[in-house]
C-alpha cells in the first residue's frame, strides 16, 4: 500500500498499516545514523520550518537533526522570537511561512487542535510536534518503535504508563499507538491525574501501583510537573514519590525482562530513582536516538517519499 498521507496530526487517525510503514521506514533510516556519513539527499532543496510556540529541547533538536540528515534546509522559530508575541494570529504566521516558500511545517503549540487547524489552512504538509494535552504523534511512534526493538510484536503485551496522564499528550499518543498495535495498556497514578474518562480510550485505569506493574513488560514514566502540586492535584511531591515513584523494589514487580521508558525531561528522585533511570533496563536514551529515525521517516513520507524507496535514496 503506498503512503498517501501529507500531514501527521495524530496517531488516532493512523491505520495499523501506516504505523508499520513509519516504523519500517525509520528502521531503514536508523541504519544510516550508524554510519560515518549520516546524511542522505532525500529532501535536498526542501525547506522545513520548525514553528515551536511552546518550549521544547529534545523534540525540537530531534526534528532539526532529522531534517538535516535528510539534507533539508531548516529554519526554527520559537514563540518568543516570532510575531505571535506582537499579536499576530497563528493563521497569519503560518501563511507567511508558506509564502516564504517553506515546503513543510513542524508545529509545537500549547493549544490542542492547532496542527489540524493549520492543515486546513495551508497547502503544505503539517507535522504535529505536540499540541497541548492532545497528541504528540512522533513520540508515540518512537516509543512503540523502541518497544518493538526490544519485544518484537506488541500484541498481547502488557504496557504500563505511570504518572501525569490527564495533561499528557505523550500518554494519549502512546495509548492510541499501543491499542492499535494490540498491546494491553494500563494507566496508573493518583486518581486526580488518572481520571476514569480514559477507560473510553480502551485502557485499564488503575490507582494501585503493585497490581498495575505486576508482570508488565514495559513501564513508561511521565514527568510529574511541579505546578500540579500547587493547583491541588496531589498533596506533595514527597507523597507522590512514596505512592507512585518507581524504585528498585517496585521495579521488582515487573516482568524480569521489562524495559523502563521515559520521554524526558526526568525528575530524578520524583517519578523515578536515579539508579533505575541509568540502569540496564532503562531505554531512555535509546528513545532519544530513535526519535531522530522516526522523525526522518515522518518528514520523508509526508514530503511524498515511499517506504520502499528509502534504500534507493541512500
Amino acid at each position: 500500500m503506498p503512503w498517501t498521507r501529507r500531514h501527521l496530526l495524530t496517531i488516532e487517525e493512523l491505520s495499523v498499516e501506516e504505523i508499520h510503514q513509519i516504523h519500517a521506514t525509520a528502521s531503514a533510516f536508523k541504519k544510516i545514523l550508524g554510519r560515518s556519513v549520516k546524511k542522505v539527499p532525500a529532501l535536498r532543496g526542501k525547506t522545513i520550518v520548525n514553528l515551536f510556540l511552546e518550549p521544547s529541547t529534545r523534540t525540537r533538536m530531534a526534528f532539526d537533526m532529522a531534517a538535516k540528515r535528510l539534507s533539508a534546509d531548516v529554519i526554527s522559530l520559537d514563540g518568543n522570537s516570532s510575531s505571535t508575541t506582537k499579536g499576530e494570529t497563528l493563521r497569519d504566521t503560518a501563511q507567511n511561512i508558506e509564502a516564504l516558500q517553506a515546503d513543510m511545517i513542524v508545529i509545537r503549540h500549547s493549544a490542542a487542535g492547532s496542527p489540524l487547524y493549520l492543515s486546513n489552512i495551508l497547502g503544505i504538509p503539517v507535522i504535529n510536534a505536540g499540541d497541548g494535552a492532545h497528541e504528540h504523534p512522533t513520540q508515540g511512534l518512537l516509543d512503540t518503535f523502541t518497544m518493538r526493538e526490544h519485544l518484537g510484536s506488541l500484541k498481547g503485551r502488557k504496557v504500563v504508563i505511570l504518572g501525569d496522564i490527564l495533561f499528557s499528550r505523550v500518554a494519549r499518543s502512546n495509548i492510541h499507538a499501543l491499542t492499535k498495535l494490540g498491546a494491553n495498556v494500563t494507566i496508573v497514578g493518583p486518581s486526580t491525574l488518572v481520571p476514569g474518562w480514559f477507560n473510553a480510550l480502551g485502557v485499564t485505569v488503575s490507582h494501585d501501583l503493585r497490581s498495575a506493574l505486576a508482570d508488565a513488560e514495559v513501564v513508561m514514566l511521565l514527568r510529574i510537573q511541579h505546578e500540579r502540586q500547587t493547583s491541588g492535584m496531589f498533596p506533595s511531591l514527597g507523597e507522590y514519590t512514596s505512592l507512585f515513584g518507581l524504585n528498585k523494589t517496585r521495579a521488582g514487580w515487573l516482568d524480569p525482562k521489562a524495559i523502563i521508558m521515559h520521554p524526558g525531561p526526568i525528575n530524578r528522585g520524583v517519578e523515578i530513582d536515579s539508579e533505575l533511570a541509568d540502569g540496564n533496563r532503562s531505554v531512555i536514551l535509546e528513545q532519544v536516538t530513535n526519535g531522530i529515525a522516526i522523525r526522518m521517516a515522518v518528514l520523508y513520507l509526508c514530503a511524498g517519499g515511499q517506504p520502499e524507496q528509502v534504500v534507493s535514496t541512500e
Binding site: 488516532e12 494570529t89 497563528l90 493563521r91 503549540h109 500549547s110 493549544a111 490542542a112 487542535g113 492547532s114 489540524l116 487547524y117 499540541d131 497541548g132 494535552a133 492532545h134 497528541e135 499528550r169 494519549r172 481520571p195 474518562w197 480514559f198 473510553a200 480510550l201
Partner: protein, 430 residues
C-alpha cells in the same frame, strides 16, 4: 398604517389556548377580533394558507454587543436578525463595553433601540459594578432607567454573600435576577464539557458539577430571600433534577434551555470547530435528553438563544483562544421544531409557548399573546419548508453558527411588530 388581515392561517396562541385555522386581524398596532367590511377592503391582506400564525417570538437572552463591540453586532443588526428569526421582543444582556452598570449606559442603549431597532428590545443591567462580582451595581437607578432584570451574564457572582444581598435588594424592586451558573474556581482554562470527548481531544474540561453547584446555590438563595432567580442556559442533567426538586418545594426559580443544548452534544467538537464553542459548553447525550425532559415536564420554563455574535476573525483561532458563543436568533425556531416537535413529539403549540408567552411572563413583558387588544406582534412561519441557512448571508453582523450551510426545516415568512410588517419573504421591510 393600514390594517392587516392574515387569512387562512393555523393560528396558535398558547396564551389564549387557541389552535385553529382562521383569520387574524390587526388595526392601529393591536390585535382585533374583526375588521369592518370597509376596513377589510382597505386592509393589507396576507394569504397565510399552510402557515402558522403565532405571537411574535420572545427571546430573553441575547447579546447585541452595543455599546462597544459593534464590530460583532449592533442593536440594529441584532434586531434584524431577530426579526428574520420571527422574534418581536428580545432582552439584551449587559456585558457590553462598557458593561451596562449605570443608568447612563442604559439610557444610551435605549436611545439606540429607539433610533435603530425594528423590533422591541429590552435592556438588562448588571448585578455588580463592572460585572466584577465585588460590589452591588446601582440596581435601583438601573430599574428606574428601565432595565427589566439584572444579570452578570457571561460571568457569575461567585460570592454567596453578595448574591444573597443582590437577591434581597432586587426583590425590593421585584426585578428578576438572571444568573449564568458557573463556579469559576472549577472551570479555570476550561473550554468544553469535561468527559470522554475532552479527554480524547486534550482540551480542558468544564465539569457539570460547576453548574450544578451554582444552580443549587441559587435555589437555596431564592428560597431564603424570596427573590425570583432565573437560571440561564441550563446544560447539565443534574441541574435539571435540582431545579425540579426546588420547584416542587415552591422555590421562585425559573430556567431556560437553549436550542443548541437540546440539539447538539460535545461529540460535535471532534474537529475543534470553534463555531461549536460556547459557555456553558455542549454536553453529553444524557444531559441533552434530560434537558428535553425538563422542557417537557415544565422544569425548564422556556427556550432562549443566548445569541452571541463574534466576528470570523475572532472565531478563526486555536480552539483554546476563540471566544465563547454562537448565533441563535435566525435558527432558533427551525432547530426547536426539529428537536422538540419532530424528534421528540412535543405539541407545536407547546413549543410556541416556550418561545412566546412563557418567556414574556418571566420578565413581565406585555407580549406573547394574540388576544384582542394585545400589541400586534406576530410571527408567520411555514413549519415544513426546508431551506439552507447561510450564516454569511444572514442578518446578524457575524456568522458564527454551527448550523451554517445546513438544511433546516421550518422557516419564518413574515414578522409583524405593532401591526407593521418588519420582515417578509427574506427581507427586512422596515
Amino acid at each position: 398604517m393600514p390594517s392587516l388581515w392574515i387569512s387562512n392561517a393555523r393560528i396558535i396562541d398558547p396564551a389564549g389556548k387557541r389552535d385553529e385555522v382562521g383569520d387574524l386581524f390587526m388595526a392601529n398596532g393591536r390585535i382585533v377580533s374583526s375588521l369592518s367590511a370597509a376596513d377589510k377592503k382597505k386592509a393589507k391582506k396576507i394569504d397565510a394558507t399552510g402557515l402558522v400564525a403565532c405571537p411574535g417570538l420572545v427571546d430573553i437572552h441575547v447579546h447585541l454587543r452595543e455599546p462597544g463591540q459593534t464590530h460583532k453586532e449592533t442593536i440594529e443588526t441584532g434586531a434584524r436578525a431577530a426579526a428574520a428569526g420571527g422574534f418581536t421582543s428580545v432582552v439584551c444582556m449587559p456585558n457590553t463595553a462598557p458593561v451596562a452598570d449605570t443608568a447612563g449606559t442604559i439610557q444610551q442603549i435605549k436611545d439606540s433601540i429607539a433610533r435603530t431597532a425594528c423590533i422591541k428590545i429590552y435592556p438588562t443591567g448588571c448585578i455588580t459594578v463592572g460585572m466584577k462580582g465585588q460590589a452591588l451595581a446601582p440596581i435601583g437607578s438601573l430599574k428606574r432607567a428601565g432595565v427589566i432584570a439584572i444579570t452578570d451574564d457571561g460571568d457569575c457572582v461567585q460570592s454567596n454573600e453578595l448574591m444573597r444581598r443582590a437577591c434581597e435588594y432586587a426583590r425590593m424592586f421585584d426585578l428578576p435576577i438572571m444568573d449564568h451558573c458557573q463556579d469559576h474556581s472549577m472551570t479555570v482554562g476550561a473550554v468544553m464539557n469535561e468527559g470522554t470527548v475532552s479527554t480524547r481531544l486534550g482540551l480542558r474540561g468544564w465539569p457539570n458539577a460547576a453548574e450544578d453547584l451554582i444552580v443549587a446555590r441559587n435555589a437555596i438563595l431564592s428560597e431564603y430571600t424570596g427573590a425570583h432567580i432565573h437560571l440561564q442556559h441550563i446544560s447539565s442533567k443534574f441541574s435539571v433534577e435540582i431545579i425540579r426538586r426546588a420547584k416542587k418545594r415552591g422555590v421562585r426559580i425559573t430556567a431556560e434551555a437553549t436550542p443548541h443544548h437540546i440539539a447538539l452534544t460535545d461529540e460535535a467538537l471532534g474537529t475543534y470547530d470553534t463555531n461549536f464553542k460556547m459557555n456553558p459548553p455542549l454536553r453529553t447525550e444524557e444531559d441533552r435528553l434530560e434537558i428535553i425532559a425538563g422542557l417537557r415536564d415544565g422544569t425548564l420554563d422556556i427556550l432562549a438563544t443566548d445569541h452571541a455574535p463574534h466576528t470570523d476573525y475572532e472565531k478563526d483561532k486555536e480552539f483554546d483562544y476563540a471566544p465563547n458563543g454562537i448565533l441563535g436568533l435566525e435558527t432558533a425556531l427551525a432547530v426547536s421544531l426539529d428537536v422538540l416537535v419532530r424528534q421528540n413529539k412535543f405539541k407545536l403549540a407547546y413549543v410556541i409557548d416556550l418561545l412566546t408567552r412563557r418567556p414574556a411572563q418571566i420578565v413581565k413583558l406585555d407580549a406573547g399573546t394574540l388576544a384582542a387588544g394585545a400589541a400586534a406582534d406576530v410571527c408567520l412561519f411555514d413549519p415544513e419548508e426546508k431551506w439552507v441557512y447561510d450564516a454569511k448571508a444572514g442578518f446578524s453582523k457575524s456568522s458564527n453558527s454551527p448550523w451554517h450551510g445546513q438544511t433546516l426545516r421550518g422557516r419564518v415568512k413574515t414578522t409583524i411588530v405593532d401591526g407593521r410588517v418588519v420582515f417578509a419573504d427574506g427581507r427586512i421591510t422596515r
